[in-house]
């Protein structure tokens, strides 16, 4: 059943205390994580990555190479997990499906005229259906930021609900593109709209706009997930994407998820990192922990 927009439910106008958010976020970055838990955390980060390539110049070869990497992160080191998923354009889903075979690595496809979302609803729905038909397990849609900023919240809500319907069994991640939403209040409102419209995940950014996944924004979205969970008992996933390229920042994000939402979210079913270069940095940190030597990118696969 397609959900319908209910302004009374949605426009409760929760305002976000920006200074408070900054202070809370700063505190997450002061946690001391010692060697053993750090190694465990790093492996967890690897397992939560959506390895991503979203460029006009993507070729089948590039996607195949990335799919291979997704399953063989660094074969010199035993006991490494795979990443959670690969994230590609709809036209590359069939290539990824073939390259991944029976692997447990999922395929996420962006859709709805990614990254701008400036197209008609018919095209967005057929874009989504095409990706699902090609074998995508997850759909990363973008919201219509222009409509959102113009105050047409019902339009944004209905669009998300329609795409959710088109997804069928595929899980839906809703990209808010927070870099274009200007304020944390808007981020919170967009999160609430997406969650109520049926998002399985909410995601910060396309990776095409700066700033992307700042901790302040991610925290605001986590709070929206928490409030919804407290009210309804329904879990929604979170995916910060764009700008998380170091292990340190990734670990800070895990600390934040744990302290805001709790352990239940510390799995790739409910938390993901959208990133292209993060995996190599995490691998280098893991090798540093294992060998005691600072590493060089020369010895890791190109991403």
């Amino acid at each position: 059943m397609i959900k319908t927009f209910d302004p009374n439910n949605m426009l409760s106008k929760i305002t976000v205390d920006k200074v408070g958010v900054e202070e809370r976020v700063a505190r997450f970055q002061t946690r001391s994580i010692k060697n053993e838990s750090k190694l465990q955390g790093l492996k967890m980060v690897l397992n939560m990555i959506d390895l991503t390539t979203l460029e006009g110049k993507d070729t089948p070869g590039k996607v195949q190479q990335m799919c291979y990497k997704a399953q063989h992160l660094h074969d010199v080191q035993p006991d490494l997990p795979t990443v959670a998923a690969v994230c590609v354009y709809p036209s590359m889903v069939s290539v990824a499906r073939k390259a991944l075979g029976n692997s447990s690595v999922k395929i996420a496809s962006v859709s709805t005229a990614f990254p701008s979302g400036q197209s008609t609803r018919e095209i967005k729905i057929s874009d989504t259906k095409f990706a699902v038909d090609q074998g995508a397990d997850e759909i990363d849609m973008v919201i219509s930021r222009g409509k959102f900023l113009a105050g047409e919240y019902a339009f944004v809500f209905d669009e998300i609900a329609a795409i959710k319907e088109a997804c069928g069994k595929a899980r839906l991640k809703v990209i808010l593109e927070t870099g274009e939403l200007s304020t944390l209040d808007n981020v919170r409102l967009a999160s609430d709209i997406a969650i109520h419209a049926g998002a399985d995940f909410i995601k910060t950014s396309t990776g095409k706009i700066q700033p992307a996944a700042t901790m302040q924004v991610t925290y605001t979205m986590l709070m929206a997930i928490k409030d919804y969970y407290d009210k309804t008992g329904i879990m929604v996933g979170m995916k910060p994407a764009g700008g998380i390229s170091t292990s340190k920042l990734a670990l800070h994000n895990l600390v934040m998820v744990k302290e805001v939402l709790g352990n239940a979210w510390l799995t790739n079913e409910w938390f993901r990192f959208g990133a292209s270069s993060l995996a190599n940095d995490v691998l280098m940190q893991i090798m540093k922990s294992t060998t005691g030597l600072y590493q060089s990118s020369d010895y890791f696969s190109i991403d």
């Binding site: 005691g292 030597l293 600072y294 590493q295 060089s296 990118s297 020369d298 010895y299």
Partner: protein, 285 residues
């Protein structure tokens, strides 16, 4: 009024304090404290190597002529701060006349390598005779990030003698300054900072050789390690260099100058280019 200066380290074109928050005092020959300088840690080495690696692409791709201009600019800026350097050399315990001489030699050395920047490639490259239809030639390419342990004595001249030929050839460097006489090296970083040398090309750390040298030697992203004779540290350092097949150079004459200081830190790339027929001296390549 005499202001006691705080000497900081130089990483990626900025002057941070050591991440470890440790310092050690530098004293003159009478035991008076001259200054506190940073006691850098291996995490500073890590940060410096990251900065050096980041700067390597841009620096190695500058034209040879431009690198020469920048080295000459360093000489100009160094010469402009003659008084300060000589004061520091004297404070660290050598005579005025020796300090004068060391400073003059340092400026000369910079000009010397500024001249070599767009010439060593022609001198050291070669066209090789081969017994097949190939035009075969060897050209030099910089190694990458070079770790340098500056000599303890001649703290200015020794530093310049090892650092400048390395960057002349397009490498970027992480330097452990003289442990006992570090003042000039930090002041030299200020010279570099105002000489069009891009941030990260030269990174200068102060601290214990016994702490910094092993960190540089074991780092997988450092391509070569250069020093004067380090005595009993030599052997463990050489062993640490094995892991990534790091090049290791020990100069007994580290206050000398010469083309080999530039070419030692270059890899040779040989290219086999097919040609139609084996020509003589006047072949058509």
């Amino acid at each position: 009024m005499n202001i006691l200066k705080t000497y900081k380290i130089y990483i990626g074109g900025a002057f941070p304090r050591t991440e470890s928050g440790r310092y050690y005092p530098i004293t003159d020959s009478k035991g008076n404290t001259l200054a506190n300088v940073c006691l850098s840690s291996r995490k500073d080495v890590r940060n410096a190597v990251v900065a050096a690696r980041k700067a390597f692409g841009g620096w190695s791709e500058k034209t040879a002529f431009n690198r020469g201009q920048i080295l000459y600019r360093i000489a100009e800026m160094l010469d402009g701060r003659k008084g300060q350097f000589i004061d520091e050399l004297v404070l660290q315990g050598i005579s005025k006349s020796k300090a004068d001489k060391e400073f003059q030699q340092s400026v000369d050395r910079l000009v010397y390598y500024a001249g070599w920047a767009d010439k060593y490639q022609q001198i050291a490259s070669s066209v090789n005779p081969v017994s097949s239809s190939h035009f075969n030639f060897s050209a030099l390419e910089p190694m990458g990030v070079i770790g340098i342990i500056a000599p303890q004595e001649n703290s200015l001249l020794g530093l310049i003698s090892l650092v400048i030929p390395a960057i002349c050839g397009g490498n970027t460097v992480v330097v452990a300054a003289s442990e006992s006489h570090p003042l000039c090296s930090v002041t030299f970083a200020e010279v570099l900072h105002s000489s069009d040398v891009p941030g990260g090309v030269v990174n200068i750390l102060t601290g214990k050789v016994a702490e910094l040298a092993p960190a540089l030697a074991a780092h997988m992203d450092v391509n070569a390690l250069v020093s004067s004779d380090l005595g009993e540290l030599q052997k463990p350092l050489a062993l640490s260099c094995v892991e990534n097949l790091k090049r290791r150079f020990t100069y007994m004459n580290s206050d000398q100058q010469g083309l080999n200081f530039v070419t030692d830190l270059q890899e040779v790339k040989t290219t086999w280019h097919p040609i139609e027929s084996i020509g003589g001296a006047t072949s058509s390549y």
